[in-house]
């Protein structure tokens, strides 16, 4: 549906995006994930048409749109700041695009109400000024304004980052539901890995103007292809030569001791399991966050993090000794 072909984007001499190649399928919820300044928003803006690539092509449904003006692309967008028009009411904001298209008043009214219904905007809110709405409601208006035009593609640029934590999770679920209902191809930009993992069909992890990895959330998380991906997504333990040599000796494995080994922290357990290596350590610190406790264990002069569910069965104190069990197959090396 959307294809980036050898796209390069430059700001003066600075290369913001280097040789971007991506193929996004129809109906897919696709996320651009990465830290700030990695080129994810830049790439999205190239698709919408605000930025012209210095090289390469952008295709939608097989058609080259690289030189098509923004207003002719029929791609919807929700901005991080929402970019609602403050001088217009909620209704007028949603109706804006249809007015531009010179649709009839009755048609506009019908569509505004239809989309308002879908996105849970009340009749009373429709008549309000956008500044009278809360952040979450403004977010809904921004979304309504984009989807009422029935775009082929919907682009969302960090749409939830201005909402508080609880609302963000609610809106996340709703976004997913809406995307499923409408079946619209969605491109989502975020730096929040949890958001990316929960929402996406596939994720592209961006770093410094390159794509590090493209894959399903499961693949990205469990089989990270690079140290960056591994580190950026989720919490990680780094094993140095000492621990790796110890595991190789204990299990007969051939881990490369010259390289760092990476293990997701939840893969370290405190109960003996077959094919698991055992390392002994002392609890040096703990962080209690309600559901889980994150322990820092000193093992062979290295810090290893370990998670325990707060189900009341186990609770370690500082200075307690502990045995950790690790499956060598869970150790990623790059």
């Amino acid at each position: 549906m959307v294809k980036f072909e050898n796209v390069e984007i430059k700001y003066g001499n600075f290369v913001a995006m280097n040789n971007l190649n991506l193929d996004i399928k129809e109906g897919e919820f696709f996320t651009f994930l990465g830290p700030s300044g990695c080129g994810k928003t830049t790439s999205l803006r190239a698709l919408v048409g605000f930025i012209k690539p210095s090289k390469g092509r952008v295709l939608v449904a097989g058609k080259d749109i690289t030189n098509l003006p923004v207003e002719s692309r029929n791609i919807g967008m929700v901005f991080q700041s929402y970019a609602l028009f403050p001088t217009m009411t909620v209704y007028e904001n949603i109706a804006f695009g249809m007015k531009v298209k010179k649709m009839s008043k009755s048609e506009i009214s019908r569509k505004v109400h239809e989309v308002a219904d879908k996105i849970k905007i009340t009749e009373e809110q429709l008549q309000k000024n956008v500044s009278e709405l809360s952040g979450g409601q403004q977010q809904r208006v921004a979304l309504a304004r984009a989807i009422v035009l029935e775009p082929k593609i919907l682009c969302l640029d960090e749409p939830l980052s201005n909402l508080d934590a609880k609302l963000r999770i609610d809106m996340r679920l709703e976004l997913k539901r809406l995307q499923k209902d409408l079946g619209i191809t969605t491109l989502y930009v975020t730096h929040d890995q949890e958001e990316a993992l929960t929402l996406s069909d596939r994720i592209a992890v961006f770093n410094n103007g390159y794509i590090e990895q493209v894959g399903t959330p499961y693949e990205i998380y469990n089989s990270s292809k690079s140290e960056f991906v591994c580190d950026f997504i989720g919490d990680i333990n780094r094993f140095g030569t000492g621990i790796l040599t110890f595991i190789n000796e204990q299990m007969g494995t051939k881990l490369d001791t010259a390289k760092t080994g990476f293990v997701r922290i939840e893969k370290c357990v405190d109960t003996s399991k077959p094919d698991h290596a055992k390392i002994h350590g002392i609890v040096t610190d703990l962080e209690f966050n309600g559901i889980l406790t994150k322990y820092t264990i000193s093992c062979m002069g290295q810090k290893v993090k370990y998670l325990e569910k707060n189900d009341g069965y186990k609770y370690y104190k500082e200075g307690d000794s502990i045995d950790l069990y690790i499956d060598p197959r869970d150790i990623m090396q790059f």
């Binding site: 605000f50 030189n67 003006p69 207003e71 692309r73 700041s81 028009f85 804006f96 531009v100 035009l149």
Partner: protein, 581 residues
């Protein structure tokens, strides 16, 4: 050819945008650059040769040298006195808990509704020969000279209380924007009220005060009406002198050179101001600001003194206005003698305003000029601000320094530039002569209002959420449509406020008008100034009072509509009515 076609299609080249730019370049060249360059050439090149004759002429003219000296003395003195009165009135109305501060604030804001020649005239009627203050003083000192209100002291006095508009507008905002938590934090650490004021509050206001100081200096340097009306023979400053010299063809080069000197001084000051502004770090680091709470002065003696000073200042601000208001309802005899009798009062002056076309004509002239100029300025500034904040080509940014040229130029220099350039047929104006047409004054009004308006408009554009425009574009709107339906409505409050301020200040404009007005279309400023001349008839004086009162009413309405939520209030009123019916 095909390349151009694609550029046209994908919006890289847009025809309306191109036309706007061509018109702007023509305007900038014809009115902002060429006349001033031409003025300099005419001063320094005579008969095709470089000549310093004008400089020599100035050196020889004691009057010219004195005027330069006087201007600088006045400018230095007034930055001290204006800052004292300006900071005090803002503290009294915004910072300290003074009883009746709303009333005080209205009095101190009166400089926003009348200025220049009208204001000085008002002061002259209070402190002049027949003025109420002089009358009171004469009771105590029968031997004093009734014409005491003349010269440096009189000019400085008027400057001190009339030059505070900037304080009222900008310093008030700065105090309101103060983070009250910083004051609470200082109190918490044991600071006294004095320490808080001098170590916390005023230092935070410093950038604003710096900026206002420079503006005050420039205003004092190029003041026209003060010295002209109450300066007397011994205290003349540059601008009135330029006017005198410009009236004679033989000394026009002196006038032009004086104007250039004034221009250089202004440019230098603005340069210094920008340096100072960049140097300091006054940016608030507050994450969550708390609203200001007015401070009650704890020392009872100081509290009483503060109240007394505040109300004395209030009286000084209000006297000229009340005086004008009262005398506008009296007959010629009363105005001439300054003695109000029981049968003094009459509505005749006002009746005349509506009956005789020669009486209301100056109004029409000034309103039409001011409104046209304010609207044209708004359009130009919106266009340039839009181009500069949304750079499409590298050279687009050059519009900004050029459009700001008049900022460095005193109005007399602009007037002289136009007078000495468009007194002959020029190709860029299709060989039309501008001098002695009503258009030249309109052009001049537009020029002087551009820099201030541009800065305000640009600020509005910069504070716009850029995504808003993109959002409109994504929804299919073309640039012009987006501009009309999305951008303009958002920046409209600023634009309207700029239009109102320009309109108000042009209504009674004198400094430029005196050089360029068309004898058949005399603007208000000229007519009112004539009424203060010794030779003026009592009838003319009475009309000047009426003009001033009506002018202040118009200004107040415009100000309320444009800046203090008047438009919203009116809209609400209509909405309510609509609902009831």
């Amino acid at each position: 050819m095909g390349k151009w076609k694609t550029k046209l299609q994908d919006g890289t080249i847009n025809i309306p945008g191109l036309i706007v730019k061509v018109v702007l370049i023509w305007f900038i060249f014809s009115f902002l650059v060429f006349p001033n360059v031409n003025l300099i050439i005419r001063v320094f090149f005579q008969d095709g040769h470089f000549s310093l004759e004008a400089v020599e002429n100035i050196m020889k003219s004691q009057r010219a040298i004195n005027s330069l000296k006087n201007s600088f003395i006045l400018a230095v003195a007034s930055i001290i006195t204006v800052n004292i009165s300006g900071i005090l009135i803002v503290l009294f109305t915004e910072y300290f808990d003074i009883k009746g501060s709303k009333l005080l604030s209205m009095g101190f804001m009166t400089t926003l509704i009348y200025s220049g020649v009208v204001l000085v005239t008002g002061y002259k009627f209070v402190y002049g020969e027949t003025g109420i203050i002089t009358k009171v003083l004469m009771q105590f000192f029968p031997d004093m000279n009734p014409q005491w209100f003349v010269g440096f002291g009189a000019v400085l006095f008027i400057m001190t209380f009339s030059g505070t508009s900037n304080h009222m507008m900008f310093l008030t905002n700065a105090i309101r924007g103060l983070d009250y938590h910083t004051i609470e934090a200082a109190k918490n650490m044991g600071a006294s009220q004095r320490t808080i004021l001098f170590k916390i509050v005023l230092p935070t206001m410093m950038p604003t005060i710096f900026a206002i100081t420079i503006l005050t200096f420039i205003a004092a340097l190029s003041t026209m009406s003060g010295p002209l009306i109450v300066g007397g023979p011994d205290f003349q400053t540059i601008n009135p002198m330029i006017r005198t010299f410009a009236n004679m063809t033989t000394s026009r080069d002196i006038a032009a050179l004086l104007a250039i000197i004034l221009g250089l001084a202004t440019a230098l000051l603005l340069f210094v101001m920008q340096k100072i502004e960049k140097k300091g770090n006054y940016i608030s680091v507050s994450k969550t600001k708390a609203k200001m709470v007015k401070q009650k002065i704890q020392n009872p003696v100081l509290n009483v003194i503060a109240h007394i000073v505040a109300y004395v200042m209030f009286i000084i601000y209000m006297l000229p206005i009340i005086n004008v208001l009262v005398f506008s309802f009296t007959d010629g005899m009363t105005i001439r003698t300054g003695v109000i009798r029981p049968d003094s009062f009459t509505l005749e002056n006002y009746a005349k305003l509506f009956q005789s076309s020669s009486a209301y004509r100056p109004y029409l002239v000034s309103i039409v000029y001011s409104l046209l100029a304010a609207l044209i300025v708004a359009v130009i500034c919106i266009a340039v601000a839009r181009i500069v904040t949304k750079l499409k080509r590298k050279w687009d940014k050059w519009f900004e320094p050029f459009i700001l040229i008049p900022w460095m130029l005193p109005s007399t220099m602009i007037a002289l530039g136009l007078m000495m350039t468009y007194d002959e047929a020029r190709l860029n104006l299709a060989n039309k002569i501008l001098v002695a047409t009503p258009v030249i004054l309109l052009v001049a009004y537009v020029i002087i209002k551009i820099p201030f308006s541009y800065r305000m408009t640009r600020a509005a554009f910069i504070s716009l959420d850029g995504n808003m425009e993109e959002a409109a574009q994504v929804m299919g709107a073309k640039p012009f449509y987006t501009m009309r339906k999305v951008i303009l409505p958002v920046i409209m409050p600023v634009v309207i406020s700029v239009i109102v301020l320009n309109f108000n200040s042009l209504l009674s404009e004198y400094d430029l008008s005196v050089f360029l007005y068309h004898p058949l279309f005399q603007p208000l400023g000229i007519v009112i100034k004539m009424a203060t001349d010794e030779t003026a008839t009592t009838e003319a004086q009475a009309m000047a009072f009426v003009y001033t009162v009506v002018l202040m009413i118009i200004s107040t309405i415009a100000l309320w509509l444009g800046r203090y939520g008047g438009i919203e209030t009116v809209k609400k009123l209509f909405r309510k009515r609509g609902k009831v019916s």
